[in-house]
Structures are given as C-alpha cells and as structure tokens.
Amino acid sequence: MVSTQLSILTISGSILIIATFSVVARRGFIDWLNAYRHQSIVLAGVTAIIGYITGIWEIYIAAALTLIVKSIIIPKVLTYVTRRLEIEFKTETNPYVSLRTSVIISALLVGLSYFLTQQIPFKSDPVVNVLLPVSMAQFFIGLFVLVNRRTVLSQVVGLLIIENGLFLFTMVLTHGVSLIIEIGIFVDILVGIVISSILLFRMGRTFDSLDVTNIENLRDD
Amino acid sequence: MAEILVGIIQGLVIILLSPLITGIMRKTKARTQKRMGARLLQPYYDILKLIKKDEVISDQSSWIFRICPWVNFVALAAAAFFIPLFLTYSPFGLAGDLLLVIGLFALARFFTMLASLDVASSFGGLGSSREMMYSALLEPALFLTIFIVALTYGGTNLSTLVTEVSSATLLPHPQLIFAAIAMFVLVLGETGRLPFDNPSTHLELTMVHEAMILEYSGKSLALIEWSQAIKLLILLVLVVNIFVPWGISSSITIPALGIGFVSLFAKISILAIFIAYFESSIAKWRLFRIPDLVAVAIASSMIGIILYYIK
C-alpha cells in the first residue's frame, strides 16, 4: 500500500465526515439535499479509490451506480415530491436538541464509532482501518438525525445518510458482496425512497404539513 | 350385666335428680335475696303440671318448633348416660366420650336456636342471636379445657378419665387449677347463668335462653325445662368428678356405690349452692362485655396447656 493512497483515503474519510456534519448542522431541506449530494459524490469517489486499491472491477460499477443513483436520481425524486407538495416544509424549526448540541453529540458519536470498532480485527487492512470507523460514524450520525429531527423530510435524509454509511461499510469491509445482492440492495433502497416519497406526498395531502407531530396519534398514553 | 344396670341407673339418676338441683339453686337464690322461695321440689311439680297442660302453638311455626323439645330432651338425656356419676366408669362410655356429650349439647342448642327463629317473633331472634354468639365463643374455651383434662388424665373417654382422676392424688397438676377456672366460666355460660344470662328474667334486654323458649307451653315447655335441668346437672357432675373426685366408687359394691352417691350428692349440692350465691352477688353483664369473660376462660386454659407441657 502506498502512503499516498493511505493519505487520500484518510482525507476522503474526513471529507465524508464533514459532509455528514453539514447535514447535522443545517436547517433547510435544500441544504441537506445538497449536503447529501456532496456526500454521495465523495462516497462514489471513495468507492472508486477502493476499487483502484483492491483492483476489483465490480467496485467501479458500484461507484458509478452510487454516483448516478445517489447524487442524481434520489435528490431529483425528493425535489420533485417536495415541489408537488406546495406546503411549508423548508426548514426544520424545532429539533429536539439544538443544532449546537447536535454537532457536539455527533462528534461524540464519531468518537464512539472509533472506540467501538477497535475491537474488530482488521488484519492490518488500511482501507478497513481508516474507513470502517468513518462508515460507522456516518451510520450513527444518520440515526441521530432521525432521532432528533421533527419533520418527516429530514427523517428521509437521516435514512439516506444511514444508507450511505451502510454502503461505505459494505464496500470497505468486503469490497462488495456478490453482484446480485449488491443490485438487490440498491433496488431495495431505491424502492424504499420511492415509497417514502409516496408516503410523504400522501402525508402532505392529508395533514397539510410534514411535521412529525401529525403522526403521533397511534399511541398508548 | 350389673355394669349395664348401674350404667342405666346412673343415667336415670341424673335425669331424675336434675330438677332437684334446680330447686336447690332456686331456693338458695331466694334465700340470699331474703325471700322464702318455693319448695325444693317445686321444679318437679312444675314439670308434672306442665306435662298435663294443653299447648298453645304459634300459627307461624313449623314442625321444627314442635320437635325441638323432644330433640332437646333426647339429646341431653342420652348424654346423661355417658357420665360416670358415682361409679368411676359408665358402660356406655364405650360408645361415646366427652366430645360426644358436647356434641349432643350442641345438637340440643342448635334446635333450640332454630325453634326460636321459627315462630317469627323478635324475641326469638334476639335470643337466638345472643345464644349464637355465646355458643360460638364458648366453644374454643370448652375445647381447650377438654384438651387440658384429656391430656392430664389420658383421654376424652369419660370412664378412663374419671378412673384416672379417682386414682390420682389431690391436684398434682397445676394446669388443672386453670382448667377449673375456665370450666367454671363455661358452666355459667353453657347453662345460661349470671353474668351470661338470667334464667329468671323476662326482660327483653337481658334474656337469652328465656327469649328463645318464650313461645313454648305445656308438654313442650316441660321437656325444655327438664332438659335444661339435666344439662346443668351433667355439667356440675363433670366439674365435680373431674376436679374433686373424692368418694367416687371404683367398684360395683353396694356400700361403695352408696358412699359414692352420698358424697356426690353432697358435693353437687355445695357446688350448686355456691353457684347460686355467686349469681346473687353479681349482676348480668352487658352483652358485649361477655367476650371479655370468655377471653379470661380461654386465656386461663391456654396457660393451663402451657403448664401441662412445660412442667
């Protein structure tokens, strides 16, 4: 392994985390979407690098798919849906935890990811070594976004971040599982996004708002 | 054969002698109250008179009311046959023991309580209600007392019991003192004496037994009165023969039996007079103070039990 490759990996990992943070730290939906798009492009890049390092050609396909699906199709779908809705959804007004605290918590989550992944034997694979905690961090931050945010749209974004983390994780650890499964995962996620878009759409129609408080009727207290 | 004969005689003696004891008690009470009082044999005359009289029966009553006096008499008179009187044993003792005697008492009382409810008067209910409480509360005291006596003398079989008593030395058992205290309370309670009940009152505030038999007349009343007298005598005999057994005969010979009879009669008369005096010296207690008295009986029999085991 060349040290430049290693440093490229490290840098790209950092960029990924920063991109993730930018989702946490912002209020507007369009901002998130852009942040997500950037993150996905970085992700595609990282994937390609991994492909280059490992020399497995399938990873290039995955990188290309990422680029197309995540940085183009999914943002398009979401923009389309939100435009059709014509309601006030643009900003997340009232997260449970303030943005400042969120950033701090996210930082803690990054630390946690590093802490937790130490136990995993890496067989001194630098790709895994560098990027596994990053993917986990992304994962946890995505989860945190989901927990923290009060609009349905931002939850979708949280889900997307988790998914990116997941993708990176898979790539890093296994350099892509078999192609059928990979495609299956992609299709699942795509369909998932489509369905959630439909739901978003319906919700907007039904409640005239995308606030989660509208969907708190089914409860036991 | 002679045994059985003596046994039958013992039972008959109790049955026949019982009105006399009642007479003695009444006379004593009259005297303590500075009255002449009726003759000693007056209870016999009363019974004979009542037997010959016509009866008035409540139109509300059923056959329970009618059979009650008979059940009373049969149960109590039958109980008399199990009691060793002047002989230390009774041949009928093989068929039943002290618990059976208590059971027969309970049978009689049970029917009396039912009969008093049968006539639909409030007196009956009142008497029955109070009697219910008394009998319920006296039961544990009674059983614990029996417990002590039975343990001390080896059985509830009255013959065994009295035989053992008669051969034992004078009160070697401290527990018996406590049993005697309890037994005294029990006799008062079971026979409806003061302070439990006043047998000569007809005031609804104080009656218990009289309230229950208020509707009876004629033959029925005679039977009831008589059986009450039998019950009283049985209890007195038990007290005497268990706690002060001197003079009782242990063999079937005429002199021994004679001594036994005379001493028994003397003891019983003294006891009866004592009870009558006691009654005269106190007033009837308020109904809900009675449990305190019963509690004394229970407590003393409990102490008796502890003393028996921890000697």
């Binding site: 449970y96 946690l112 136990q119 946890f140 989901l146 927990v147 945010r149 009060r150 989660v212 969907i215 089914l218 036991d220 207290d221 | 037997i51 010959k52 008035v56 029966i57 139109d59 509300q60 009553s61 059923s62 008979w70 049969v74 149960a75 009928f92 068929a95 039943g96 059971g103 309970a106 049978l107 049970f110 309580m113 409810l117 049968d118 006539v119 639909a120 008067s121 007196f123 209910g125 029955s128 209600s129 219910m132 009998s135 509360l137 039961e139 544990p140 009674l142 417990f147 343990l151 080896g154 059985g155 208020l214 509707e215 004629g218 033959k219 005679a222 039977l223 449990p291 229970i298 085991y309």
Partner: protein, 681 residues
C-alpha cells in the same frame, strides 16, 4: 384389568356422549334427558370403577407418541380412586338434580351448551384425578378450570357474573403456574414428565427441591382448594354459577385441590418419617386454621345463601387441611398410628364435605329455583312451601355443623382426637402450637353452628319476608331425588362411620381398625388405655330408646292434651308482621361486633325529620356495610400498584417516532459498549 379398562373407556364415552348428544337436539326437554342421563350412567359406572380399583388393584393405561416427549398416561390407584368415588357420587346426584334444575335456564339459554360444559367439566375432573403425567394433568386441570369458568359465567347477561368468573379464572391460573413450577422442579430432577418417574425417584431428590416442590404445589393446589388468602375467587364464583355447578365446584372441584396436595405429599414420600418434613404439616395446619376461621367468620355475616355456603367451603377446606397437616406432622415423628388417624380424619371430612356441601348447594339451588333470589333477607317461611327441600337442607345443615349423629360429627370428632393426640409428638414447641391451633378450630366449629342456624333459620323458618315468597311451589321431583341421595349419604356416613373409614383405609392402604359395622372406634393413649372411643350405631340406638321412653312417659303421665294454634306472642300490641322479625343481619350482629376488626363494618344512618322538629323522625335509614379485608388490604393494593406500573410502561409507546428510534439507538449502543468493555476486561 380388562374390565377396568373397558369400564374406563365406557365412562369416558358416556360423558363425551352426554356432552355431544345434547348439541344435536333442538327440543329442550329432550336435550335435558339426552345430556344428563348419560352423565348419570357415566357417574354410576365411575362409582363401580373406583370401587373396583379400591378393592382390587391400580389401573394403568398409556398411549405413547401423541405428543413429542410426552406420553398420555392414566393411572388410577387407591388415592385417585377415592377421589373418583367422591366425584362420581356427587355428580350422580347432581346430574339427577340437574334434570329438573336446568329448566330454570331453558327459556333464556341453550341447555345443550350447558350440558356440553357440564359433562366436559365432570369428565375433566375425572381425568385430572386419573392423569399420571404432568402435562396431561395440567391439560385436564386447566380444562376443568376452563369448563367451570364457562359454567360460572353461563348466565353472562349479568356483568357481575362475568367479573367473578374472570377473578376465578385468573386466580386459578395463578395457581396453575405454581403447580407447573412444582412439576418442573420434578422434571429437572428426573428428566421426565411422568408422575411415575417423580414417585420412583422422589426419595433421592435434594431436600430443598422437595421442600420447594411441596411449597409450590401447596400454593397452586391450595388456590384451587380455596385456602386463605388465595380464596377470594371462591365466594365470587360459586354464587355466580348455576347452583348445580356450584354444587359440583364446591363439593368436588375444590377437593381436587386437596387431591393435588395429598398426591404431592404422597409422591414426595412426605410421610417421610423424618422431622424434616414436619414443617409441611405445620404449614398446612396453620393455613388450614386460618382458612377455617376466616372462612366461617365471613360466612356468618353473609346474607347471600350461596356466598355463605362458599365461605363455608373455605372453612371446611381449612378443617381438612388441619387434619392432613396433622397426619404429616405425626408421620414425620414416626407416629404412624396417629398419622393414620389424622389421615382418616381429613379424608373422612373430605368425603363428608363433598356430600353435605353438594346437598346444601343443591338445596340453595332449589331455593333460588323457587324464589329467584339468593338474598336470605327476602326469604323466610320456605319450610311450609317446600317441606322436602327444607328437610333435606336441614339434614345437610346438621351434618355440616358437625352434630351427632350425622356425618360431620364423625370427621370433626376424628380431627379433634387427632389434635388431642398431638401430645405424643416429642417436641414441646410443636405440642403447644398444635394445642393452640385447636383454638381457631374450636371457634370455627362454634361459629359454623351460628352460620347455619342463621342460614336455615332465616331462609326456611318464620314468616316470609317478601310477597313473592307467598306464591312459590316445591321444586320438581328429580331435584328432590338428587338431594335425597346425598342426604341419605349424610345419614349413612354418620350412623355407620365404618363404611367411610373402611373405604379410606383400603384406598390409602392403612390398617383398618373397625372390622365390622358395630365395632367401636378406639384410640389408645400412650399407656395403653382407651383414649377415646365412639360407636355411632350404639349412640343412635341409645338416642332412639331414650326417645321412645320419654315419649311413652309423657303420654302416660300427661294423658291426652289439646294443641291450640294461635298467633305468636306480640306483647298484646297485635299486628305482628314480617318487618318485626329478626333479619339475618341483625342475627349475626353480635358476632360481627365481636370480630369487627376483620369485617371493618360500619353503619351509616340517615335521618329525616318532620319539618323543623328535631326529635320527630320521618324516616330513618340504616345501612350497614362490611368489607372483605383481604380484598381491601391485599388484592386491591396489588392490583393498583400493578396498574401503576402498567401505566408507566405504556408510556413507552409515546407515538413519537423519534422516541422509538431513540430506543433502538440506545439499545444498540449499550450492547456494543457492553461487549466492547467486557472485551477489555
């Protein structure tokens, strides 16, 4: 053996057909016959079956491979056969009774459903007793609970019936959990679910396991039997059920709880001739005494006939347990003769209670059938309208109070003798504590008399307390016949205790003492003299001869006299009416006052005056309440605290998706941290 097998199959077949036949018939009169006649025949054959098992040898049957790990096993030994006998005698009488009784429900409900449940109930009781495998035991046990539950809520139009049924079901399930736990403890020792395995290797169980098994079984079966403080279902369920069902439940079903306890003790070789087991007996004596006294004290203040009877069942279960506990204590100190005495006493009482409680519940059922009320304050004077019912009820009453010469006396006598014999136990503490246990026991007997004086006196005697009573009729003949069977048994078991004792001795393989019916029951004291003895036939002959003698005496001396009927003495005021009678509540008032801590009774008086007058009352309304301290101090706090917890836990489901996701996040982070940290260590 072959006959027994075919008898057993026949019995099962008969009950099953009784259950199913009715469902095919549309005509309700026909349905009644179709359902109850097979029950009667089935019960009859069960009597024969159990007698033949008692006299000959145990019956065994096994069907393998129905279920994984578990065989369907049936074994009827003497103990089981004894209880089968009780079941079958009572159910014979009750099903005869039901032919008439179920007319009551015909208009409203389908008798066929009733018949189905009724037959399944009896069959499941028979199979519980016959089971020899813990799994099938539990199946039939719960089936028994379930069918009886449905029978309790058979009249489910009344909400209170459903409620009491539910209490019953939940309590009995609670009990089942303990029974299950005790079986499982046996299972982990033996690796088998078969009772045979438990029996064969129970002597090698560790003592702790044995103690736990006993304790769990006692709690579990005790719940069914109705021991205090697990009894609360009993006074609710029994009154709600149709009376023929209450008769079965009270007379037989709760005895199966006793069966379970007896079975456990026997199987665990609880008669282990070692003082280690004495606490089993002591526990039973203590709980038994408490149950007896609590049961009877609540019975005496009760004005619902069936509730009073239900409380009295608790009392009698207490008495049975005292006897059985004594038996275990005696056995643990190697006093085998006394142990046998106490065992006979408790089993005799079990048998007696089946008989007279069945009779009394049927009697109460007849009252309800005729008057449509269970409240004795509305009854009165029934003895004139329903002479037969009254007579039979009276027999039951005298028996249950334990008066000679009826059967209750025998078993109470035996139990008392067992208590008295406790002086032979070589331990002063035990001697004294058992002696003191006789205190509540005796009080129970005393209060029981009061209870039944009240029950019989208020309902059957004196003047009717409401107008509806005036028009009632005696119940149908089949009902009278059903009651008569058990009444006859009451008398028979009282006059000839030999009968009952020899059944028990041969069922439990105890050396029999009385060999012929006129033998005296003799107990000996420690120095070989007669401690106590009883010969009921002689007593009865004596009673009869005294009766004849006094009758003759009165006739001869008194001559012919006249009887005049006149109204009751009214102190000259006239117009004595039913409102002046003593009510049931006032009858038991003294006892209620004496034991007031237990009832927490309080009285509310509302006065209404004439205008401004402070002294002239227009109306006076007195209401008196009693409470059940067990419900109030034990069950309500448990209920309310668990509802409090439920309330906290349901808050988990906030409806907020953020919260839900947070739970997941916390879970995974905690688990990961846990693994991570435990890795470093």
């Amino acid at each position: 053996m072959v006959e027994n097998l075919s008898l057993f199959q026949l019995v099962v077949f008969l009950f099953a057909s009784g259950a199913l036949l009715g469902l095919f018939s549309r005509n309700s009169r026909f349905t009644r016959i179709l359902t109850f006649i097979p029950t009667m025949i089935g019960s009859f054959f069960t009597v024969i079956f159990s007698v033949s098992v008692i006299l000959e040898k145990p019956f065994q049957l096994m069907v393998p491979n129905l279920l994984p790990f578990i065989n369907f096993e049936i074994k009827v030994d003497g103990i089981a056969a004894f209880f089968l006998l009780l079941i079958s005698i009572v159910s014979f009488a009750v099903s005869l009774y039901s032919i008439g009784y179920s007319k009551e429900y015909e208009a409203k409900k389908r008798t066929s459903v009733f018949g189905f449940l009724f037959n399944s109930f009896i069959l499941s009781m028979i199979l519980v007793v016959a089971s020899n495998n813990s799994f099938f035991f539990l199946i039939f046990w719960e089936l028994m609970s379930l069918t009886s539950f449905f029978l309790v809520i058979y009249d489910h139009d009344k909400e209170e019936n459903v409620k009491s049924g539910l209490t019953y079901l939940v309590m009995t399930h609670f009990g089942t959990a303990f029974i299950f736990a005790s079986f499982l403890l046996g299972y982990i020792q033996t690796g088998s679910f078969s009772f045979d395995a438990f029996r064969n290797s129970s002597s090698s169980f560790p003592l702790l396991t044995k103690n736990l098994i006993f304790l769990f079984a006692f709690i579990g079966f005790g719940t069914k039997a109705g021991i205090v403080p697990l009894h609360i279902w009993l006074p609710q369920a029994h009154p709600s059920a149709p009376s023929n069902v209450s008769a079965l439940m009270s007379a037989v079903m709760i005895k199966i709880g006793i069966y379970g306890i007896v079975r456990t003790v026997f199987d665990l070789s609880g008669f282990g001739l070692s003082p280690e087991y004495s606490w089993w007996g002591l526990l039973m004596i203590a709980i038994g005494s408490v149950s007896a006294i609590i049961g009877v004290l609540y019975a005496v203040i009760e004005h619902d006939i069936k509730r009073a009877l239900a409380f009295s069942s608790i009392e009698n279960i207490g008495i049975i347990l005292v006897g059985f506990g004594l038996s275990v204590v005696f056995a643990s100190f190697n006093l085998t003769t006394l142990s046998a005495l106490a065992l006979i006493a408790s089993m005799y009482h079990t048998m007696n209670h089946s008989v007279f409680k069945g009779l009394l519940f049927m009697g109460a059922g007849s009252v309800v059938y005729a008057t449509h009320t269970r409240n004795m304050e509305h009854l009165g004077g029934l003895i004139k309208k329903m002479p037969w019912t009254a007579l039979l009820f009276l027999i039951g009453t005298i028996s249950i109070v334990g008066l000679p010469p009826f059967n209750g006396f025998i078993s109470e006598w035996l139990t008392m003798q067992a208590l008295l014999s406790s002086y032979q136990i070589p331990s002063i503490i035990l001697q004294i504590s058992i002696a003191f246990a006789s205190l509540p026991f005796a009080l129970t007997i005393g209060v029981a008399a009061a209870t039944f004086v009240k029950l019989f006196g208020i309902s059957f005697l004196s003047r009717p307390r409401s107008d509806t009573i005036a028009k009632i009729k005696e119940v149908p003949r089949s009902m009278i016949a059903g009651m008569s069977i058990l009444a006859a048994a009451c008398v028979l078991l009282g006059v000839l205790p030999f009968l009952g004792i020899s059944v028990i001795t041969s069922a439990f393989h105890i050396l029999s003492q009385p060999i012929n019916p006129f033998d005296t029951i003799i107990l000996q004291n420690s120095f070989g003299k007669s401690f106590a003895n009883l010969s009921m036939p002689v007593v009865v002959i004596m009673l009869l001869s005294v009766a004849i003698a006094i009758f003759g005496f009165i006739k001869v001396i008194g001559g012919k006299t006249k009887k005049t009927t006149f109204s009751t003495w009214d102190c000259g005021f006239g117009n004595l009416n039913e409102r002046m009678e003593y009510t049931g509540t006032s009858l038991s008032q003294p006892i209620r006052v004496v034991f007031k801590t237990l009832f927490r009774s309080h009285t509310q008086i509302q006065r209404e005056f004439f205008g401004d007058h402070k002294y002239i009352l227009r109306t006076l309304k007195v209401e008196s309440f009693t409470k059940n301290i067990f419900e109030e101090k034990l069950y309500l706090p448990i209920m309310s605290s668990s509802i409090f917890i439920f309330d906290k836990i349901r808050k988990i489901q906030t409806g907020k998706i953020n919260a839900y996701l947070l739970y997941i996040m916390i879970t995974i982070v905690l688990l990961l941290l846990f693994v991570r940290l435990s890795h470093n260590v």
